[in-house]
């Protein structure tokens, strides 16, 4: 109603702007109230889950899904500081386990696996770890605090010390989440990076994955839990179940994720 007053009083260009703003605001109100009986769940999820979860949301029936994608460590820290999304889906099991131990999360469930790879631009000549150790190669990895960064350090830690040192010497940036590693690679800012195989798939051909030797591959397991004290736990659990074994699990696999490893 206040909007209408402004619109009536306003001069020409302002009036149109105000009217447009009102329409947008009203549309926002309308769409947020039109959910009816369907609850809305907020899911805090690792950046690597973005494509898969966004697709899953379109066919999930029990609730509307709203996502917050970032580095898992950032999301966990937000929950520690009192943020309460319904579900926390992490790119590792360590963070959900910690939150559960602190009483902030229900017992976590492993819902997917993934594979660490060397991601390189499509036309790259890099074929393995040996190339990453060559002087002049620029590499981006995840910050030690984010799961992709700790998996990467796990792999590098299994290499002969000289090779590990040579590769680390080529690291030019430690990014806060996997999305920003991928961004640096697709922009040609770096020659190679460590990401999940699903991230490479998400670039639709801009990047290609170079496999790591099987004996170096870390056990990448994604864990999720329901944040304590949040409503709609039934729907939250339904979403986790859908990711583990429902239609979303197929989407996950199409996006390059692996079935949940037996941890």
């Amino acid at each position: 109603m206040q909007c209408l007053g402004i619109v009536r009083q306003g001069r020409h260009p302002i009036r149109w702007l105000a009217a447009a703003a009102c329409v947008v605001a009203a549309a926002g109100c309308a769409s947020s109230s039109s959910g009816g009986s369907q609850p809305t769940l907020t899911i805090s999820a690792a950046a690597s889950l973005k494509d898969a979860f966004t697709t899953c949301a379109q066919s999930f029936q029990q609730a509307k899904l709203k996502f917050s994608f970032a580095g898992s460590d950032q999301l966990a820290a937000q929950i520690r500081q009192g943020a309460s999304p319904n579900v926390f889906a992490s790119a590792n099991t360590k963070l959900p386990d910690q939150l559960a131990a602190e009483g902030k999360l229900s017992k976590p469930q492993v819902f997917a696996g993934n594979k660490l790879v060397i991601a390189v631009p499509q036309d790259s000549k890099i074929t393995g770890l040996a190339d990453l150790a060559k002087p002049g190669t620029s590499i981006v990895i995840g910050d030690a605090s984010v799961p992709i960064g700790s998996y990467t350090r796990e792999v590098l830690g299994r290499l002969p010390p000289a090779q590990e040192k040579a590769i680390l010497a080529n690291v030019k940036s430690e990014e806060p989440d996997v999305a920003s590693i991928v961004g640096k690679l697709t922009q040609g800012a770096a020659d190679a990076g460590f990401t999940y195989v699903s991230d490479v798939k998400g670039t639709k051909g801009q990047l290609k994955a170079v496999d790591l030797p099987a004996n170096l591959q870390p056990n990448v397991a994604y864990g999720a839990g329901i944040v304590k004290g949040t409503p709609n736990t039934k729907e939250s659990q339904a979403f986790i179940d859908d990711v583990i074994s429902g239609s979303c699990s197929k989407v996950m696999q199409q996006n390059g994720f692996l079935p949940p490893p037996n941890a």
Partner: protein, 268 residues
């Protein structure tokens, strides 16, 4: 009836003002206070003694001051030109200059990458000159300069346009060239305003996050400025992040305080 309503409104208005001011004050001050109270002062000081934190602060000072020098050297003549000349397309030029003020910093970073990155418009040129910005400290300076320069430019342009015309004309009729008038008359008169513009630009540069991360990356001692270090530590070392945040807040308070003081010095 109408009369009585109007009178009631007149009486209520001061109360409404007080309430609005109180709400604004609490809302804006509380997060700042929380940074200093959430962790004990001793813990704050202890967590400053950490090489990630020290490196980040050093790098922040180094890069923001370098950016500031660039902004002053190039920005001051630009502001003078804009303040003293009228030409076609001036408004368009001003809009372009002010755009970084409202542009999301991450967008600025993507723009810089698309312009100056290895695959960017000037990428081949930089490559042939062997100039690298991405992942380099120089790249941080570029990002800071891009984002912070409008804060100085706007203030400096306003300062130059309020310099008393008669002073400038007197200088000219006494035979001084424009360069001399600019250097000996306009700059000294506008100095307090220029300084406060510089302080605002410096403050913005110190807080820069998105453009730096997207364009220059984050690496301790090379590109990880204080805001990036805060973000990196937020997940794993909350007291450390708060300690760095506290230092930045102190800087900001000092900068704003300086600006207010300069404002008082300004001749009216």
């Amino acid at each position: 009836m109408r009369h009585r309503l109007a009178r009631a409104g007149a009486r209520l208005f001061p109360v409404a003002l007080i309430v609005a001011v109180a709400v604004a004050l609490v809302f804006l001050a509380l997060p700042v206070i929380a940074i200093f109270t959430d962790v004990s002062p001793k813990e704050l000081i202890d967590s400053l003694d950490d090489d990630t934190t020290v490196d980040a602060l050093k790098l922040s000072l180094q890069t923001t001051l370098t950016a500031l020098v660039i902004i002053l050297v190039i920005g001051t003549p630009v502001a003078w030109a804009l303040a003293t000349r009228r030409f076609r397309g001036k408004q368009i030029l001003e809009t372009i200059i002010e755009l970084p003020l409202v542009m999301p910093p991450a967008v600025a970073g993507i723009g810089l990458l698309a312009a100056l990155g290895p695959k960017g418009i000037l990428g081949p040129l930089f490559d042939s000159l062997d100039v690298q910005l991405v992942f380099q400290t120089a790249g941080v300076v570029v990002a800071l300069t891009f984002v912070a320069s409008p804060f100085y430019l706007r203030q400096a342009q306003a300062a130059f346009s309020t310099v008393d015309r008669s002073l400038l004309e007197a200088s000219r009729t006494l035979g001084a060239s424009e360069a001399r008038t600019f250097g000996r008359v306009a700059c000294p008169v506008a100095f307090p305003s220029l300084l406060s513009g510089a302080a605002l630009a410096w403050g913005r540069a110190l807080g820069e996050f998105g453009a730096t991360l997207v364009f220059a990356g984050s690496f301790q001692g090379v590109t990880q400025t204080a805001p990036l270090a805060i973000y990196a530590q937020f997940g794993t070392n909350f007291p450390g992040a708060l300690a760095l945040a506290a230092v930045l807040v102190c800087f900001s308070i000092a900068i704003l305080g300086g600006v207010k003081l300069l404002g008082r010095l300004q001749p009216t």
